[in-house]
Symmetry: C2
Subunit: 244 residues, 2 copies
């Protein structure tokens, strides 16, 4: 894959080729931390991107910073966006409550944030183009979160097609963008096992939709439920600090 | 086209159908103002969206507010995003100077903002989904600005395909999104003539890449050059306040 790295230009053939760059979306949760660890294990120079879009709590962003540092990201950027102001999601709109497991029967949960992954990938694409990074990693998962439309392989493939049409690097042919989703077909238990094998400090990650400022998980929301079940299925002790 | 409007639910067949909603990206420039006027003339209830992504000047956003109000947008939202921090463009990075006409020979100008229209359309898509709006208007133009990859019909078509895959409304089939680009094949002179026919106050729009705080255009950058030529070709007096 051709990448456009300013470091490469003008170097002699004897020079060491710099590592390939990747932008990795890091939320502070278990899945994105594992995704970053996978990208690092593949030898990539990783640029971690977190988006503060008005989530209900800040513990997730604190976790993102900790994860980016401990897993050796080359840089970590938190981009601020007042996206929550459009409403429409329990994750950003205080007037919609986060449901407990079994409380809703809708195919797509109210915790769905409209166009969230489209926005995230668009921001990552902009940074990737500036960095000369051809790969963008995102920890989406179509197994446990199949209710979110923008976690499905068809969405990812459509974004990949868009990326080459959307950018100077794509049009000029210097970069052929790839949206990498190493966890898309994994169960939560498989993700946890992979994270442990790669040395991810899972206690530092936050999955809960409404963690308290100290990063303690509520233990009751969908995300906590899924995480607890994942640790149980993986046969691994759950290090998560739960309130309940 | 099916739209998902909360106002419709539960009304009797005798009730008046509410107007169809649209999200219109409004930058404060001539093209987006004309686009808003076209959407209004089509009878749409328009929700104007401006994105403050660290442009060089604020006059453009002041113009966007003025345009949204004067053309009867139902609401106007300015979304803040610290996108300029990724660098890579003369429009957001003070270390890259805005070129004068003829100064550069690159196919894609340095004023190109990486993934800009992908980000804009993603934000508009999120708001459109919340509003139940099926149409998103963007004033891109492939004639005069053919150097920007994300102004071409192929990019717009790819985003339209993505939108239905990316959203709950698209997946559930309640909305079939359309990205509307009424100016994509128009020359600047044609846009100016259309704007005047629709009663757009062109003096209130700002095209200049580096307008001063009072909204006065530099008169020297690519955008000023194009605008001046457009008025000349349209045979219309140019009401723009130029510094030089």
């Amino acid at each position: 894959m051709a990448t456009q790295s300013p470091d490469v230009a003008g170097t002699s053939s004897a020079a060491v080729t710099p590592p390939e760059r990747a932008v990795v979306l890091v939320s502070g949760g278990l899945d994105s931390a594992t995704t970053l660890a996978i990208a690092r294990a593949e030898g990539l120079e990783c640029y971690a991107l977190s988006v503060d879009y008005g989530q209900r709590h800040r513990a997730e962003l604190d976790a993102a910073r900790s994860v980016a540092t401990s897993l050796g990201a080359k840089a970590h950027r938190v981009m601020h966006l007042d996206f929550g102001s459009i409403g429409g999601s329990a994750l950003t709109d205080p007037s919609i409550s986060v449901p407990r497991p079994g409380e809703t029967t809708a195919a797509i949960p109210v915790t769905y944030v409209p166009a969230r992954n489209t926005v995230m990938l668009a921001l990552a694409l902009g940074w990737a183009e500036v960095l000369g990074a051809a790969r963008i990693y995102i920890g989406v998962n179509a197994v446990d979160y199949s209710g979110y439309p923008d976690c499905r392989p068809a969405f990812i493939a459509a974004f990949e097609r868009l990326a080459d049409l959307a950018t100077r690097a794509g049009v000029e042919g210097t970069t052929r963008f790839r949206i990498c989703t190493p966890l898309i077909d994994s169960s939560k238990a498989q993700i946890i096992q992979r994270a442990i094998a790669l040395g991810v400090d899972l206690a530092a990650t936050v999955s809960c939709y409404q963690a308290d400022p100290a990063g303690r998980a509520c233990g009751r929301c969908d995300a906590c439920h899924l995480r607890r079940e994942g640790f149980a299925a993986a046969g691994v002790p759950d290090p998560t600090p739960y309130v309940a």
